[in-house]
Symmetry: C2
Subunit: 219 residues, 2 copies
């Protein structure tokens, strides 16, 4: 009984996600779903990425949080359209929440949409919201064993950002171990090591985003 209902919930979500995906593709919007633990640096990475790319692309952001709108306020300062979703307790965004947010965005004018999911390394991995790709952000402060302990999100992500590398040496984190465990789950996963706070090492990540958009507009 329980399983059946949960499966229905997932199926309903997948149907709405497919509609979101169709709508976004029709409008020529490339969408990245950013997923990470609380405090891994999603918003800071997003701020740096906006500053680097907003002259090249027309960008919008959907912010997902349990409560509050501090992230949307931070993003709003960068001069791009932003919509805040409050899940009111849910541990992830779902396709229906994202559909409502899409209605508030000028999709015709947007080429690149970032969705910052609820801070959680578990639940968001299981819910398609209609994105083109998931990106997992891991902070070195979280430890190098996370891909082993939370495999699904590393499996389902198209890229991994390893953030806060300025803290290497001050925390117990071996780069080689993190890379190896991530790639044991997801061979050939692109991994970008950077410090969003310091604004260092962003080139590889920005290049990957540009490449995805290029591929998307040619497809």
């Amino acid at each position: 009984m329980e399983i059946k209902v949960l499966r229905n919930v997932l199926e309903a979500n997948d149907a709405i996600a497919a509609e979101n995906r169709r709508l976004l593709r029709e409008r020529g919007v490339y969408t990245l779903n950013l997923i990470a633990s609380p405090g891994a640096g999603k918003t800071t990475l997003l701020e740096r990425t906006l500053d680097a790319l907003k002259a090249e692309y027309r960008i919008a952001v959907i912010e997902g949080d349990i409560a509050g709108s501090t992230d949307a306020q931070r993003i709003g300062r960068h001069g791009v359209p932003v919509v805040q979703i409050n899940t009111g307790g849910d541990c992830h965004l779902n396709a229906s929440m994202v559909r409502s947010a899409l209605e508030s965005l000028p999709l015709e004018e947007i080429q690149l949409l970032f969705v910052e999911n609820v801070g959680n390394l578990v639940c968001p991995a299981g819910f398609d919201i209609g994105e083109d790709a998931k990106v997992v952000i891991l902070s070195v402060a979280e430890g190098d064993d996370k891909p082993e302990k939370y495999p699904l999100i590393f499996e389902r992500s198209s890229a991994m950002v390893l953030n806060k590398i300025d803290l290497l040496g001050m925390v117990d984190f071996e780069l080689d171990r993190a890379r190896a465990t991530a790639r044991a789950t997801h061979p050939d996963l692109p991994i970008f090591e950077l410090s969003a706070r310091k604004g260092e090492g962003l080139e590889g990540w920005l290049g990957w985003v540009r490449e995805q958009i290029g591929r998307h507009s040619n497809s």
Copy 2:
């Protein structure tokens, strides 16, 4: 329909949690449920706490993870009984998982039980497992805005450990803001600032644990 089933799941969980609580109290076991984001330092805090308290109390540990047993291996090295639960995808422990684990522990011989929940600042807050108290651990690397964004766990915890204070100054974190937002959600919440990795500042936390056990055995 969906809501009803979810409510049934919660009610069933609460009933088993009440049984766990009765069993643990009958055996004189004081139980703490440790909750935090991935990588906030739960296991390291636990290791330091075991080393400090294992001569005073007979302690056991239940480790909750999506997958893997690296944490149970770390804890096992400290010479206390430990049981690993793998949730296989679930974002939190539930009372039924904990009940199974209790069957593998020599409860008659234990005074203090730590349950390390799945790394997640959202889901574990909603599920009673039969503990005496929840403790939330926040790392300064996660940012000072977390109590605002994830209020439930701060509301429901009996104490907060602010970990990795050795990283203050290297991350954007204002102690005053973190304290204020936590206490806006939960007035008078005891907050212990420490570095589990460096083994610094543990006295307040250890004193609080001792005090809880003392109260518990007198009640």
